[in-house]
Symmetry: D2
Subunit: 322 residues, 4 copies
């Protein structure tokens, strides 16, 4: 193996650049050449590929949000013909293996390439933490901290004004961001796709709080359940909470990555190269129980699902004001 | 003069607590007693008033968002009878003068009390920066920095995905937050109530940018113009910008105040007590041309308007990518 | 069991308050009374103890640095007689079990009480991450992020001025903070107590970097090795690196805790109460391989040592500029 | 005028890059070519100069710490011969005017060039806020906010442990950073070069505080007075304050600039080009009483001094705990 390709794909997440740097540096350290592929699978098929070994400033991206390799939607990559074009480009550049950083969709692309015989490794990079085969994804910790900062601010205002805020956080179909951010900020309720919610019980809880001296509150809701605005509308039917709906939106994606996301990105990037050097491939890598792990990417995607730790919801119910 | 009352009113802003602490401390330093009035004019009328001289931990609020004196809506204070009840409460507690931290509405309350003969001073505390008689209000700098942080993050994502974001910031009828945040983050367009916008020209500018190599962009819009969602809808009629609408919402209010807001709050709080000790009152105080100033509160509200520095818009037009 | 005591002890770390809140709330949720003990073992012996169930504002400490229960040095607690006095006080207040948040020294106090028959549980709260029986301690993640922020800033200056900085971080005898912060910021060298360093090799590496186009650099050194100033002096004997020494010092302890530290604190606090309710005690609890764990506190302290993950050093050597 | 040169010089400060971007963009907007000069006066003399008009990513530096144009020590520029060499290079590149962002030393360079007939404008860029002819310098607000964040953290620890911290901040000969950071964090004492300090009075104040219920404290000291370690040693002779000395050091220079520093940098950069287009030059520009101002650079340096607002010290004395 002489040359490896690096790609980011899907929604950007903080720490992707840290991973790009780690993969490239680990490759160079092993005497390989690292090639950056711009604009995800679209750039792959179009041959938007460049040699990274000459980049002197690579270290400066270690703390930069977004992705210097860009990302792009490219549904056409679902077609076999397009996949073959991608492999053609990789061969044209003499690239022997591909490391893709991204979420669900990115993994499926890597799976396809693997099935067609091109060695690919998937690194979990998404704020949603919804990738099977790993406890944490790159960008999740940063996104949670952004939400926590926002929730802290909103709590100041809620408390000053005796208001209730319904705050919507990202996560696609997963409640992980909502759970972590809610537990970290002493939310009065957390609403996630993984568990049925009882809006009447939530309203009663808020009413109870008022009787016991807490006249404000925060409900954190995952986008996978419904919008903050819709939830607020429902809630208002059960009482007058002087409620407001907020959507934290895309501020959760970018920005300087946290230490945890950076260290995770560094470890996973290095691990991908290690595995490739050992002749392995067709893998989805991640961190499980604090250990780096590698699973067959096809099996991972077809037979496994991300497991959201819903015990955090019970924890929050125990710890919240009452 | 022996006792002064301190109140926060209207929407909370970061640095209100710093001002509360400054007023109370300056009063104590001058041998006065400081009384906190909870829940704004509502608490005033209800006599929700307490002596602050015994608070040992007052300094710990110097960096705390929100307001420990709470705030509340109270339209009833527009009535003369209710105002007289407020004055009655103040006299009951032996309070000789009142310092109110807040925005427009809070100032009007202070104006009414002054007109009825009760000495009141208004300190500008609002994120909107829309108070006449001062260049800056307490909380504006923090709000702008929150927006700048959010815009930096969104810019990472916009750039990674070749997208355009319409980002709505607060400011009520004023464009100050939008202007400062937009200039600070190299926005492609800033839309404010103080100047007619030309959506066709903005769309053309974004198209031009693409031709010159910038395929992403940020438009900062003040809430006083319209919602981000509405602007996005308009924009989409002039081209396909893969646009998204974001509303930064209430995260702009709370949180740890910036150094500038804290120093401003400390200076204004101290200045209010100084003026009261000199036998003055019925004033709106502020900072103009970097100097502390005091104006007649009635004249200020009736004859003056906040002036938004729209030269920042021209500045941004010169500096933006083209 | 009806009443539990909560204490913080040793050096403060961010998230201690989050843990205090979690223990108290979990206790209340289970129908227990929570008692706060001020000033660590000193306050215990002096009976500086108060009922927390009436605290309405307990949730507001979820994001506050330091510890509302204070801490204090108290070497006298090594004596059996003093320990007995502590137990006497606990009995006087009707307290059945004690939960202590702190580092090494705090654990030893809890161990002593356990040996004397008083049920105690230790929760790892220290920035140093040097407690046996847990992968992570409360406050470590925040401290690392503070260091990362500082190192990012210093890197800006190093790069602008072609300088080298030796930056000393905390950690007592452990290199964990240095390792995580160094890996996260692309340090050129990380010097920790767990591994012999070769200053000549480091100097040569920096010289090599210059030849390859990187004329600045950062060395992160753990306080357990030596001071930044001493290391700089040594380094300067091997070349002219226009070097500066910096000690990050006590800014690493306080401040708003990160999401990770808050969630860890919430889980551990809740877990301590769960164990006590199950009739268990005499335990050191923690998180291992992402699972909550409880070990015999005597065995943990006498037979186990914290394991620093030195593979991060090798990782950094592979990933650094060369 | 067709071409302008842009240079950063002296110690880096946050917002320098924002100013570089503003100057370059304003120049381009006026149809000029902008040339970047690397490594300050050293690079000027060596002809390390490049055309910036082709930089597509210029906007991405708007929020980046340090300076992309680098800086370097170059005492040789005090010599007339070296200055003439610099002018020769400028002429070689067809550059008609020079804009220098920096502190005191940088201004002196610009003054020399002006005296030799080469049109130069100085923009105040230093964290120290010690430049005559301006109320604020670019980087000051960011540095103060970094100090405030650090002091908030240290205060958490001081309070938890009943300790006193002596915290040294930068500022060269000026006390501005110390004053602003001290006022913003409710420091117990601020020690600056502009006013004699009375260590006995400070010690007595801390002792008094203890009697009145505050058993911890913070002293902010400007580096221009003495080191934190030396002050602590002196202080300890007047009582046992369980004191610690901390030096915030170079973390004050880099990092993401605040909104205020960015807007100031944008305005000053744009203003420099406006003046040059009007045929003016030989100027030191700045912001006075919230207005952009331009003064003769020779007169400014020879006849004026920066004025530190020592009323902030009196303000702090009134507001501090007692």
């Amino acid at each position: 193996m002489k040359r490896i390709g690096i790609m980011t794909s899907g929604g950007d997440s903080s720490g992707m650049n840290t991973a790009v740097r780690a993969i490239a540096r680990a490759a160079m350290d092993a005497g390989l050449e690292a090639f950056g592929i711009n604009y995800g699978y679209k750039g792959l098929v179009e041959g938007n590929i460049f040699n990274m070994n000459s980049l002197k400033d690579l270290d400066t991206i270690v703390n930069r949000g977004g992705t210097i390799l860009y990302s792009a939607r490219f549904p056409e990559f679902a077609e076999r013909e397009t996949q073959l074009k991608g492999i053609e480009q990789l061969k044209k550049f003499g690239i022997d293996a591909l490391v893709v950083i991204g979420g669900d969709g990115s993994y499926h692309g890597a799976e396809k390439l693997t099935k067609l015989g091109f060695n690919s490794i998937g690194i979990p990079g998404t704020i949603d933490n919804d990738i099977p085969g790993t406890d944490f994804t790159i960008g999740f910790d940063t996104a949670v901290n952004v939400c926590v900062d926002a929730l802290d601010r909103v709590t100041d205002t809620a408390r000053s004004h005796q208001r209730h805020f319904v705050v919507e956080v990202m996560g696609r179909g997963a409640g992980d961001i909502a759970l972590w951010a809610g537990v970290a900020t002493a939310a009065d309720a957390i609403v996630i796709p993984e568990r049925e919610y009882d809006i009447k019980a939530i309203a009663e809880h808020l009413e109870e709080n008022r009787k016991h001296g807490k006249d404000y509150g925060i409900i954190v809701i995952a986008e996978g359940v419904m919008s903050a605005a819709d939830f607020k509308e429902q809630l208002d039917q059960y009482g007058d909470f002087d409620s407001r709906a907020i959507t934290l939106a895309h501020v959760q994606r970018g920005g300087v990555p946290t230490a945890k996301d950076r260290v995770l990105a560094a470890r996973l990037g290095d691990y991908a190269i290690k595995l490739l050097l050992e002749g392995k491939g067709g893998l989805a890598i991640g961190i499980k129980d604090n250990q780096l792990v590698a699973h067959d990417i096809i099996d991972t995607l077809e037979n496994h699902k991300h497991h959201t730790d819903t015990t955090l919801l019970d924890l929050n119910d125990r710890l919240r004001f009452k």
